[in-house]
C-alpha cells in the first residue's frame, strides 16, 4: 500500500471535515460492510456551492479523497461539480493504489448523491440531471472484495 505524499497530506490534515447545519443537499454513499461510508453536506446558493463539509468512515484513501473532492467543488457551480469525475480526484491526489480506486468513485458518488438531494428539495427530479442513483451499488467493489 503505497500512498502518494498528496494522499498522506490530505489524510493528515483533511480539509472541510464536519457537518453543515444549513446544508441544502446531503448525500451518503457506501456501507459499513464494505468498510467505507462517505457523507457530504452542500450549501448551495443560486448556482454556486458556497460551502462543503464531509464525514467519512474509511481508510486513509477514503478520507483523503473526501477532503480533496470537497476542495475541488467548493466555490464551483453545480454544473461544474456534476462534471467532477473520480478520475480527476485520483489525478489531483497524484494517484491511488489500485485497490483504493473505489474510494475515488465513492467521492464522486457522494457529491452526486448530495446534489440529487439538493434537486429533490427543490422539487426537481434529479435523475435526468445527475444520472443514476449514485449509490454504492454501482461501484461493484463490494462484489470484488467479497468474492476475494
Amino acid at each position: 500500500m503505497l500512498y502518494s505524499e498528496k494522499v498522506l497530506e490530505h489524510f493528515a490534515n483533511p480539509k472541510n471535515v464536519g457537518e453543515l447545519e444549513d446544508a441544502n443537499g446531503v448525500g451518503e454513499v457506501g456501507n459499513a460492510k464494505c468498510g467505507d461510508i462517505m457523507r457530504m453536506y452542500l450549501s448551495i446558493d443560486g448556482d454556486v456551492i458556497k460551502d462543503v463539509k464531509f464525514k467519512t468512515f474509511g481508510c486513509g484513501a477514503a478520507i483523503a479523497t473526501s477532503s480533496i473532492a470537497t476542495e475541488m467543488i467548493i466555490g464551483k457551480t453545480v454544473e461544474d461539480a456534476l462534471k467532477l469525475t473520480n478520475r480527476a480526484v485520483v489525478e489531483a491526489l497524484d494517484g491511488l493504489p489500485p485497490s483504493k480506486i473505489h474510494c475515488s468513485v465513492l467521492a464522486e458518488q457522494a457529491i452526486k448523491a448530495a446534489l440529487s438531494d439538493y434537486y429533490k428539495r427543490q422539487g426537481i427530479d434529479p435523475a435526468p440531471i445527475v444520472g443514476g442513483a449514485g449509490g454504492c451499488d454501482d461501484c461493484g467493489e463490494c462484489d470484488v472484495c467479497n468474492a476475494h
Partner: protein
C-alpha cells in the same frame, strides 16, 4: 514524532544482534554447499545439523523430526497438502480445521476442497477458543487430518492443544498445529502435547524472514511439496538457506530460554496497556484474556476504521496492525474478527498491538497517551460516531 514504538511483532520482528552475529560468517566466508564433499561444504552441513538440534530441543522433539522450510506458509502447505495426499490413498478425504486459521492454512484447505476434500470448519466461541470436545465430535472414520492453530495471529488466543492432540491420538487421526505465533511465547513440548506436525517461522522470533521449520513426528509420511535433490533427507529439495537456518537455530534457543520469566514480564506490560485502552469509550478487547499470547492486544473502537487508525498511529510513531499483515493491503474485513461474531463495521476497525520483551514501560506509556486523541480525532470525522 516524540517516539518510535514498534508494536507489530506478531507481523514480523527485528533480527537480533545475536542472530545476525551467528549468521554473518555463513553469508560470506563459509559459503560451501552443504551437500558438497569438500571441507567448506562439510562445515556447512555440520552447522545445519547443530541448528536442527536446537530447534528440536526447543520443541521437545528429536533432530530427525525437524525439516527446514522457507517459512511458516511453506510448512503449513507441506503439512496439510502432504498429509492430504498420503491419506487420500487410504480413502481419507476429510479435514478438520477452524474458521480462524491463518490464510496459509485456510487457503490451502480451500484448495483441497476444490480437489474433492471435505473440510469441516469448527467455529470458535465469542472469546476465540475451540474445545477438544468440538474436535472429538467432528472426527469421522474418513478424517485425514486435524489442523488447528496453536495461537491465533490476530487475537492471540491460545488453544487447548494438548487436549485436542489427545482426542486425535485416541481416534488415530494426524494432528497438525500452526504454531508460528506460539513458538517462543508459549512453552511447547510436542510429545507431552500429542502433536504430530508443527509449523514455525523464523521471522516471528528475531530470525530472518524466509526460513521456518516443520516438525514431523517419526512414523508420519507426508508427500513432498518440493521434490528434487536429496536435501533434508530427501523430503525438501533445494540448496539449504544456511545463514538463515543458523539464524533460526540461534533465535529459537534464545527465545525459549527463560521463557517463563519473559512471559510474566511481557504479560504485565500487555495487561497495563489493555487496562488503560479499555478506558476509552466504546472499545472492546477481542479475544479472551485468560489464555492469550503474552504480547497481544487486539482492540476495536466503534465507528473507527482500521486502516485510517493505523496510518494515524504511524504518523505518531506507533507501528501496529489491523487484521493480519498479509491481508492489510486488501479490502477484506478480518475473517478472524468475523469468526468471533463481530459485525462487519467492527471487523474493519480492529487494532492489533503486539509487544515483546524489547518493548519498554515508556513505550507502553506512550501508546496509552497517544491512543485516546487519535481515536477521538477519527471519530470526529466519522459519520457513524454521531449516529
Amino acid at each position: 514524532m516524540e517516539r518510535f514504538v514498534y508494536a507489530d511483532n506478531a507481523a514480523t520482528t527485528k533480527v537480533s544482534d545475536r542472530v545476525l552475529a551467528a549468521m554473518t560468517p555463513f553469508l560470506q566466508q563459509n559459503y560451501g554447499n552443504p551437500s558438497s564433499i569438500y571441507s567448506i561444504g562439510r562445515e556447512s552441513k555440520k552447522t545445519i545439523e547443530e541448528a536442527r538440534e536446537k530447534v528440536s530441543v526447543a520443541l521437545g522433539a528429536s533432530p530427525a523430526e525437524i525439516y527446514f522450510t522457507s517459512g511458516g506458509s511453506e510448512a503449513d502447505n507441506w503439512a496439510i497438502k502432504g498429509a492430504a495426499a498420503t491419506q487420500a490413498k487410504k480413502g481419507k478425504k476429510h479435514i478438520i480445521t477452524t474458521n480462524f486459521e491463518h490464510h496459509a492454512v485456510l487457503h490451502t484447505c480451500e484448495k483441497l476442497a476444490r480437489d474433492g476434500f471435505e473440510i469441516t470448519y469448527l467455529p470458535i466461541n465469542d472469546e476465540g477458543y475451540i474445545t477438544a470436545e468440538q474436535v472429538r465430535e467432528a472426527i469421522r472414520p474418513d478424517t485425514a487430518l486435524v489442523t488447528i492453530m496453536y495461537a491465533n495471529n490476530e487475537i492471540g488466543t491460545i488453544q487447548p492443544i494438548k487436549e485436542i492432540g489427545k482426542v486425535c491420538r485416541e481416534a488415530k487421526v494426524w494432528f497438525h498445529t500452526d504454531a508460528v505465533q506460539a513458538v517462543g511465547h508459549v512453552e511447547i513440548n510436542v510429545q507431552d502435547q500429542n502433536i504430530d506436525m508443527l509449523s514455525l517461522s523464523g521471522h516471528k522470533i528475531h530470525a530472518p524472514k524466509g526460513v521456518g521449520a516443520l516438525y514431523i513426528k517419526k512414523g508420519i509420511v507426508l508427500q513432498n511439496l518440493i521434490d528434487g535433490g536429496g536435501q533434508e533427507r530427501g523430503k525438501r529439495a533445494g540448496t539449504e538457506n544456511i545463514a538463515s537456518i543458523v539464524g533460526l537455530g540461534q533465535a529459537i534457543s534464545d527465545c525459549t530460554q527463560d521463557i517463563e520469566t519473559k512471559i510474566k514480564h511481557v504479560s504485565a506490560m500487555r495487561d497495563r496497556l489493555i487496562e488503560n485502552a479499555l478506558k476509552i469509550p466504546q472499545v472492546r478487547l477481542n479475544g479472551g484474556l485468560q489464555n492469550r499470547l503474552c504480547g497481544n492486544a487486539n482492540l476495536s473502537f466503534t465507528a473507527v476504521e482500521g486502516e485510517a487508525l493505523l496510518l494515524l498511529l504511524d504518523m505518531n510513531g506507533i507501528c501496529g496492525s489491523s487484521g493480519s499483515a498479509c491481508t492489510s493491503g486488501s479490502l477484506d474485513p478480518s475473517h478472524v474478527l468475523l469468526a468471533l461474531g463481530l459485525p462487519h463495521e467492527t471487523a474493519h476497525g480492529s487494532l492489533r498491538l503486539s509487544i515483546n520483551e524489547e518493548t519498554s514501560d515508556e513505550d507502553i506509556d506512550y501508546i496509552i497517551k497517544t491512543l485516546p486523541p487519535v481515536i477521538e480525532r477519527l471519530r470526529a470525522m466519522s459519520p457513524l460516531w454521531d449516529k
